[in-house]
């Protein structure tokens, strides 16, 4: 079983961190993982994206032609990656930012008003974690506990005060898709 993800959005929306936590959680479950970021000028204000692969077997190519999952946090990301999504693949949309509908009908579309949910929790910055909650609930790629412990690892001691807020956001994302 191999799942490939492309996570994309504006710089500052936390797509890189989202991908890293996903990969970290996969590793903690004993799976093979890779995380590969777009780098260079894209990092500076434009759209950023990363590719994550979680697999039961050693990961060969760290890049994919047709990802199983696309996460679009903004419109440019939707335009760029929707065409590449695998048939029957998951398309996660941050509907707080994306005010249009995808054009394909052979994919599974999950709209998540990530900013609004995050705002209700009390911090817009955790919109990425809301989205991450939705991703793990819908795709079942990793368990919530693994994500929580990955998050703890990534935030480290300095960020321990933020842990509760982030986990709350993940849970809100899970609830949103009925997980």
């Amino acid at each position: 079983m191999t799942l490939s993800f492309v996570l994309a959005g504006f710089g500052g929306q936390g797509v890189m961190l989202m991908g890293q936590i996903l990969a970290q959680a996969g590793m903690q479950e004993g799976k093979n993982v890779t995380w590969f970021p777009s780098y260079g000028p894209e990092m500076r204000g434009g759209t950023a994206n990363c590719t994550v692969i979680i697999s039961d077997e050693p990961v060969a190519s760290p890049i994919v032609d047709t990802p199983d999952v696309v996460v679009a946090m903004n419109i440019p990301s939707l335009l760029k990656f929707e065409p590449k999504l695998k048939k029957d693949g998951f398309l996660f949309l941050n509907s707080s930012v994306i005010d249009r509908k995808p054009s394909r009908n052979n994919i599974r579309i999950i709209e998540v008003p990530a900013n609004e949910i995050a705002d209700k929790i009390g911090n817009l910055k955790v919109a990425n974690m809301v989205m991450l909650g939705a991703i793990i609930a819908a795709t079942k790629c990793v368990r919530k506990e693994s994500v929580a412990s990955a998050l703890e690892y990534k935030l480290g001691e300095k960020g321990s005060s933020l842990l509760k807020l982030n986990i709350e956001a993940i849970e809100a994302g899970i609830r949103h898709v009925g997980g």
Partner: protein, 350 residues
């Protein structure tokens, strides 16, 4: 040992420290800055020396200095910076100093771009600097292998008193994968040559210089003898599903692992495709490739260049089988799908 997620660049840095390297001299250039920054942070913690040089030209000569007084030393750069280091590498090779280089290759020529490339293969394996010298060149395809090969680079550099290069690309440098890094310090004896001060012994000179051509030729012959020994003993490669293969993909580094996905796609389509992945680019594993070439009807070499390693594939397999090439340049990474499509086209399945 616990696995941790690390970027390729950072994993190389930690591996160098675990191999006993305590001296790093470097200059910022994308896409390898994480390695330089990692060493700036880490080396002082282990009592080592990190120094940001004023240029790659200075950095390589600082390596020469540190190596000549008997200390393990390394630097890291990316393509244009590696070009600037070539003169110094030639000196280091001739002076027979152990030193480790990392080139996280980016698109070229010229200023090029900062995306992954394999366009520095000729420079790495065929020279680059002046004179008859060789660089040990190791090409990892995963972050874990980058760790193993960085440690091996120090080991081989010490063993042969020769510069060794870890040749990776921006993709491997930037990606994160789980790694285990174990301490692997191989002790070596430099007491017969290192410049430590002429105490209780005659003065010692480390140079790449001899004005007498006959004497300099003797030095060259010694180097050549060393290279022949490397060619006998050090070639390393990986074979993947080659046992029954009728078509052989040949690729190294990042493209090597991308081609593994192509092999899987081809196998699912019922085609007998295997992969030959050179790990040492110098010394190149000509012999095993020659053996495999005798049993396949097609070799497809895939590179992120115009076909540089292709020349070595031809040296190994010319006239033994049909040899084709697929490459992308300038920082474009070929996807498994496009390589697969090209393969299908070659064997007339599309």
């Amino acid at each position: 040992m616990k696995k941790i997620m690390m970027k390729g660049t950072e994993a190389i840095g930690e591996a160098a420290i675990m191999a006993g390297c305590r001296n790093f001299f470097g200059y910022p250039i994308t896409p390898q800055n994480e390695l330089t920054e990692y060493m700036a942070r880490r080396l002082p913690e282990v009592g080592g020396c990190f120094l940001q040089a004023e240029s790659e030209v200075a950095a390589v000569n600082m390596i020469y200095g540190a190596a000549s007084v008997g200390k393990r030393a390394m630097t890291s750069t990316s393509s244009p910076g590696f070009s600037l280091m070539q003169e110094g590498i030639s000196y280091i090779a001739c002076a027979q100093l152990p030193a480790v280089f990392v080139n996280i290759v980016r698109g070229g020529p010229g200023l090029g771009d900062i995306q992954p490339s394999q366009g520095d293969y000729f420079q790495a394996t065929k020279g680059g600097g002046h004179g008859d010298y060789r660089l040990i060149v190791l090409a990892p395809s995963t972050v874990q292998e980058a760790v193993t090969l960085t440690e091996l680079a120090f080991e081989l550099a010490d063993k042969y008193r020769n510069p060794a290069l870890v040749l990776a690309d921006g993709l491997l440098g930037q990606m994160m994968e789980p790694v285990e890094i174990e301490e692997k310090q191989v002790s070596y004896d430099n007491s017969s040559w290192a410049l430590t001060g002429a105490k209780d012994r005659p003065p010692r000179k480390v140079t790449s210089f001899n004005i007498d051509p006959y004497e300099l030729e003797k030095m060259n012959l010694k180097l050549q003898e060393k290279y022949r020994k490397m060619e006998q003993e050090e070639p390393r490669w990986e074979e993947f599903q080659t046992e029954d293969a009728d078509v052989l993909l040949v690729a190294y580094g990042t493209v090597g692992r991308i081609c593994k996905s192509v092999v899987r796609m081809a196998r699912e389509a019922g085609l007998k495709v295997g992969l030959f992945r050179p790990i040492t680019l110098y010394p190149y594993p000509y012999k095993p490739l020659e053996e495999l070439a005798k049993h396949v009807s097609l070799i497809l070499t895939v590179e992120m260049s115009s076909g540089q390693m292709l020349e070595d594939v031809k040296l190994a397999a010319l006239r033994l089988t049909r040899i084709e090439f697929y490459g992308r340049m300038a920082g474009v990474v070929p996807t498994p799908g496009e390589i697969f499509d090209h393969l299908m086209h070659l064997i007339g399945r599309r």
